[in-house]
């Protein structure tokens, strides 16, 4: 976890965003102690609802820069991901993917690859999955991209510089951005799956960087190398701008644009 927070801290510095405007929202699995020292506001909410909570924060005060660190992104948080992409809600989502639910005895996440002979190392075999998994996994960057995200990327926790740059770029973007970070889970996952080298290294060495790759091609499979890189980078009007434009058009003078003189009484 710590390398990701370090990249996040450096990313903030590198971007043009003011530290006190940043609000980090996370759900249950993500609760790092070191966030206390970062100088940002931090909200730790119910499972999977970080994006929805962040949406409220953003609409309550459009000056805030919301960063959602999520573990349950594609399960409990799935619908919020889909719709925030559709709305282009201005927010950076950092999906920390360790293929399992760390806090719940290694239960498998929906990002785990389906099994094959060579793919044993990716299988969740703890928790609910004593017999390995057989379901198709989500391809997070592709899912986000298809829903309308303006920025998607995937890095491993070892890609410190690349991740830092991605975070800095995403923070400067106005729109819904999703960065997937592959990060090792707890040690027992490693043991179960007989990965002898350190997982951190393992992900890093098994990855290949292909910037601007079509997100359709970046699914994580046991057979091939993990594709990392900045995949999507496009411009689209963010939610609040679209909202202001639409209502301004209809209501004319009667409309008080949001984020302007709107009442933070």
């Amino acid at each position: 976890m710590n390398p990701i927070i370090t990249a996040f801290a450096n990313g903030i510095k590198k971007s043009g965003v003011e530290l006190s405007n940043i609000v980090v929202v996370s759900d249950i699995p993500f609760e790092p102690e070191i966030i206390k020292d970062l100088g940002v506001d931090f909200f730790h909410v119910t499972r999977g609802r970080a994006i929805a909570f962040g949406t409220g924060l953003k609409l309550g005060n459009p000056d805030l820069k919301i960063v959602a660190f999520i573990g349950d992104l594609m399960t409990l948080g799935g619908n919020h991901l889909v719709h925030s992409g559709r709305r282009n809600m201005e927010m950076l989502v950092i999906c920390v993917n360790n293929f399992i639910y760390k806090e719940i005895a290694g239960t498998t996440a929906p990002s785990v690859s389906s099994p094959s002979e060579t793919g044993k190392k990716f299988h969740g075999t703890g928790g609910f999955s004593a017999f390995s998994t057989f379901e198709k996994p989500f391809n997070a960057p592709h899912l986000a991209n298809s829903c309308g995200a303006v920025f998607t990327a995937r890095w491993t926790a070892m890609h410190t510089n690349e991740l830092t740059n991605s975070i800095a770029n995403a923070l400067d973007k106005r729109g819904f951005s999703v960065i997937e970070v592959l990060s090792p889970g707890p040690n027992f996952y490693k043991d179960i799956n007989q990965i002898n080298s350190e997982l951190l290294d393992f992900y890093y060495k098994n990855s290949i960087t292909k910037n601007n790759e079509d997100t359709r091609n970046v699914e994580i499979t046991p057979e091939e190398k993990i594709i990392t890189g900045d995949f999507t980078d496009k411009e689209k009007s963010p939610f609040i701008d679209t909202y202001n434009a639409q209502l301004g058009k209809i209501l004319g003078d009667k409309f008080i644009p949001h984020g302007g003189q709107s009442g933070r009484d």
Binding site: F43, T46, G56, N61, K254
Partner: protein, 417 residues
């Protein structure tokens, strides 16, 4: 503090309860509603969505109720007044986050226009069966405030009061109206802004470095700040200390810690007398007291008239605040009267609270109704008559067999007997 004239559409209107509540929310200073449409509450959200942009407030249709409630909690901590609007199934979906709201002490309001039945139930008809869910719906210990308006005018007035209570006590406040009240059209007077009293947020104004988000004031409620104002907030649904930091690690190490849950409960229980609003009528010489709320109050008025016509001395206690429950009041009455009669549109919820508080001193009669309609006032009148005559102390809630129950369960039309 007075309401902002920009938010108040003063005038005299003929409107339904849902619409009145939408106007009430804006007048109270609500700046954000995240909602998901559900019958019979939709008109309230529609109204707010229509009038809010002209006052600088925002309505967003979220992807579901889970998102709606999470969003209003976030917006609440960003510094604005917030509400969500729902009914039965949507209310059930919100339960988990209500606990979060109580834990992070975000002021917020939920308008629940109750419908009939469990599950999808009777979406377009009335019910009062979510009363216990409001109180106990989310897991763990916490307290809420629930109000029960009985008319469109009250939906306007008590929506404002709900916001004021939420800001004052920083707890979940529910407006537990029912479909009848929500869809009933009556005269509603929206007063001028200077006549509307609104409670501003209790903002912290001391030195920044000394701020503790969960350090209570004398009335047990802490002061708040806004996210993004540089307070380095750490707000979590985990059990936390005054700084907001989780105390699970300390607890695991066996250190004694003051648990904040006690205060979440106490800040409502110890302030209950200040919160509770009741109306009493004909209590002085009452032998029987009817305890009612919401639409059942208005139906009971007719039932009581009929019973009084037969010479029975009946008092009427109306619960405007249902939670916290007026324990003291009911207990005090129980020592003076023969019986309580509780008409409600469910098979027994608030009646058990009345029984609990009467401590066996008075009989307690439930006049049930399965929902999708209101009581026949004759049933209430007959239950009062029975309660006045009954000499034995019956140590359980007596369920009055209403016409509808007889009709449904005894398989024949005995309505005209």
């Amino acid at each position: 503090m007075k309401a902002n004239p920009r938010d108040v559409n003063s005038g005299t209107y003929y409107m339904d309860g849902d619409v009145a509540s939408g106007y009430g929310a804006l007048a109270a200073g609500c700046r954000f509603i995240g909602g998901y449409p559900i019958t019979p509450s939709t008109e309230a959200a529609e109204t707010f969505a229509r009038i809010a942009p002209k006052a600088g407030a925002v309505f967003i249709q979220m992807e579901d109720e889970l998102a709606s409630i999470a969003a209003i909690l976030g917006a609440s901590w960003s510094g604005v007044k917030t509400m969500t609007i729902t009914s039965g199934p949507g209310y059930s979906l919100m339960m988990e986050a209500i606990g979060l709201g109580a834990m992070i002490e975000a002021p917020f309001v939920i308008l629940n226009i109750q419908r009939g039945g469990p599950s999808t139930g009777v979406p377009t008809k009335t019910g009062q069966a979510d009363m216990m869910q409001s109180r106990w719906g989310s897991h763990g210990d916490y307290e809420v405030i629930a109000l029960s308006p009985d008319s469109p005018q009250e939906l306007f007035d008590y929506t404002i009061k709900a916001f004021n209570l939420a800001e004052k006590y920083r707890c979940p406040v529910m407006i537990m109206a029912d479909e009848c009240v929500g869809h009933m059209s009556e005269k509603v007077v929206i007063p001028p802004a200077e006549e509307i009293e609104i409670e501003p947020r209790r903002l912290y104004d001391g030195p920044k470095e000394k701020y503790l988000p969960f350090k209570p004031d004398q009335d047990l409620v802490p002061k708040m700040v806004k996210a993004g104002d540089g307070y380095n907030l750490y707000i979590t649904g985990l059990v936390h200390d005054e700084k907001g930091y989780p105390i699970k690690n300390q607890l695991e190490k066996g250190k004694r810690q003051k648990l904040p849950t006690r205060r979440l409960v106490d800040k409502i229980r110890l302030n209950a007398d200040k919160i509770i609003e009741l109306t009493e009528e004909g209590m002085d010489d009452a032998e029987v007291v009817v305890v009612s709320y919401g639409i059942s109050y208005r139906v009971a008025v007719r039932g009581i008239e009929k019973a009084r016509g037969k010479g029975i001395k009946v008092g009427h206690l109306r619960l405007i605040t249902v939670w916290p429950f007026p324990d003291k009041k009911i207990n005090e009455l129980a020592s003076k009267v023969k019986a309580f009669v509780v008409p409600e549109i469910n098979y027994g919820q608030i009646v058990f609270e009345v029984e609990r508080c009467s401590h066996g001193q008075a009989n307690v009669v439930l006049v049930p109704h399965g929902g999708a309609g209101v009581h026949n006032p004759d049933d209430i009148a007959e239950a009062i008559e029975y309660a006045a005559k009954e000499k034995k102390k019956i140590r359980k809630v007596i369920e009055w067999k209403t016409r509808l129950e007889k009709f449904v369960f005894e398989g024949g039309c005995k309505l005209n007997k």
